[in-house]
Amino acid sequence: MQTLFIVTGVAIGVGVIVFMSALLSGLQANFMRRVLSAQAHIQLLQPQQTTRQLLPTPQNGAGPVEMASVQAPMQQKKSIDQWQSIATQVQALRGVRIVSPVASGSILAVRGSANRAVTVSGIDPNSYFQIVDFSDKMVRGTWHLAGTDILIGTDLGADLGVDVGEKLHVTTADGANSALTVVGVFDLGSKGVNQRNTFTTLRTAQSLLNLPAGVTSIEVTVDDIYAAETIAQRIAAATGVEADSWIKNSAQFFAAISAQTTANTAIRFLVALSVAFGIASVLVVSVVQKSREIGILRAMGIARAQILRIFLLQGGLLGLAGSLVGCGLGALSLVLWQSLARNADGTPLFPLAFDTTLFFLALVLGSLTGLLAALAPAMRAARLDPVVAIRG
């Protein structure tokens, strides 16, 4: 009876931990996927241009002090210096997966009297589409870019009335005109992005933006997304370019994830603690109940260490049994949750990962908790005076 109660108690605790951990990691993975499938992990940019103040030289330093107003310079559209060798260098770094150069700038898309200012990103389709996956974001047409093809967002297409197969006329800042062929219309999930972003080949963008053979940024993805910031710092130190990781760019998002993880850890710890106290209290009662038997065993030549072991084992087994049931409970509630919590269109809110390591960890930690919880009662049992115990 007692055993049943405590195993149920442990099971509920472990079930809550399993369910919550899986839910949270599913949620985070989903967020991550959404955020990181639409942007590179690290973006390399030309360092900001700053004004160099004239330092007082020995010649003019002795003269009268001048009042000076230093104005920040306008940021010119400039290619990253030596981008090809930097790209090669970055690609060689450990942990870096994909390196893709991008030339982007502003152009004016024109149709009749309507015009829209848009950002055109010249990309290398082979590498760039491995960073941002367009395959499931295309509404019409294809994302295979060649020559003077261009991809536009749904909202831009609607605004200008252009669709796949039609020509889009663009005017550059220098006043040059060009006609590009729309081959695909995409939906990146945000109206602003769909209105403003267009993609074309690197070469086309370079000629439109007057950046012959140049690029304005290099997009990088890494194996371990949480190492992005350290890798970014390594790149910046090695090449001198500005390297911004997604962690830095999405600081708020990252802080939210960290806060979630911390809260989860705290809850897990507290649940584990209450499970431990539950096991300990049951064992303390059991030691009192069994004190006569313990005394007999001691009289029969069973050593203190063996008594200690029996109760530790009992605690460990209670923990293990509870965790086993708890893992089942957790898995069950996950399945239930997945079938109940759905988007408006009936698809699951987000896919949940059934991580075997999570269950394995829950089992190991549950048993360890039981073992630790049994320590105090087991020591009490081992210290029992056999004379007193037998007399009852």
Binding site: E293, A299, M300, G301, R304, A305, I390
Partner: protein, 228 residues
């Protein structure tokens, strides 16, 4: 001296709650020598210190003063682990309330001290336990839960259990106290048989004058002193 000394007590004193207001000396310096094959009745009124004496000889309790030798070994200098081992190997207990583990079968109860001594379970142990049960006439009941046996049967199981390690000394604290005359007789005869066949020294605490009279010696405990 042709008989082998098994237990020797010299000046054994036992004080309960030493240093406190309730300090009481229960044993006032006991000298006692038991030989191999002795079958002694221990008699005396309740509260005279019989049980304390038995607990001290059984190494469950430590004397406050004096020396105790069991099987030529001075025990007062031993640590707990060594005491436990010595107890497991040389002393068998039969208690008034048989104290079997009711959650186990008769056979498993007999196996407990054997497993304690070897540290694990093997077929040889089960074999030996079965022989012991047979010797107390309970082999057919080996798979019965201990709680389902009659009082006399339980007491015989606990004798079988006590004999597992061929102890030099068997301490029986009123083993017949709760039994009807017939069962008591059976248990007493069993102890006699063990004493006769294996030369086990038996200390038999009893309030029954008839049974005490059938022992070879009588040790009378009165107010913490003994008269042999």
């Amino acid at each position: 001296m042709d008989k082998e000394t098994v237990v020797e007590l010299r000046g054994i004193r036992k004080v309960f709650n030493p240093g406190s207001a309730t300090e009481t000396e229960v044993l006032h310096g006991i000298d006692l020598r038991l030989y191999k094959g002795d079958f002694c009745a221990v008699v005396g009124p309740s509260g005279s210190g019989k049980s304390t004496l038995l607990n001290i000889i059984g190494l469950l309790d430590r004397p406050s003063a004096g020396t105790l030798q069991i099987a030529f070994q001075e025990t007062t200098v031993l640590g707990d682990t060594d005491l436990t081992r010595l107890r497991g190997h040389t002393i068998g207990f039969v208690f008034q309330y048989h104290h079997l583990m009711t959650a186990f079968t008769a056979l498993e109860n007999v196996m407990i001290p054997l497993m304690a001594a070897t540290g694990f379970c093997n077929p040889a142990i089960a074999q030996r336990a079965l022989l012991l049960l047979d010797s107390v006439g309970l082999a057919p009941w080996k798979d019965n839960m201990a709680g389902n046996l009659s009082g006399g049967q339980q007491q015989r199981v606990s004798i079988a259990r006590a004999l597992g390690m061929n102890p030099a000394v068997l301490l029986a604290d009123e083993p017949t106290g709760n039994l009807d005359t017939k069962s008591a007789d059976l248990v007493f005869e069993l102890l006699r048989k063990v004493n006769r066949e294996q030369g086990t020294t038996v200390l038999f605490v009893t309030h029954n004058p008839a049974l005490a009279a059938r022992c070879d010696k009588t040790i009378e405990v009165v107010d913490g002193m003994i008269r042999v």
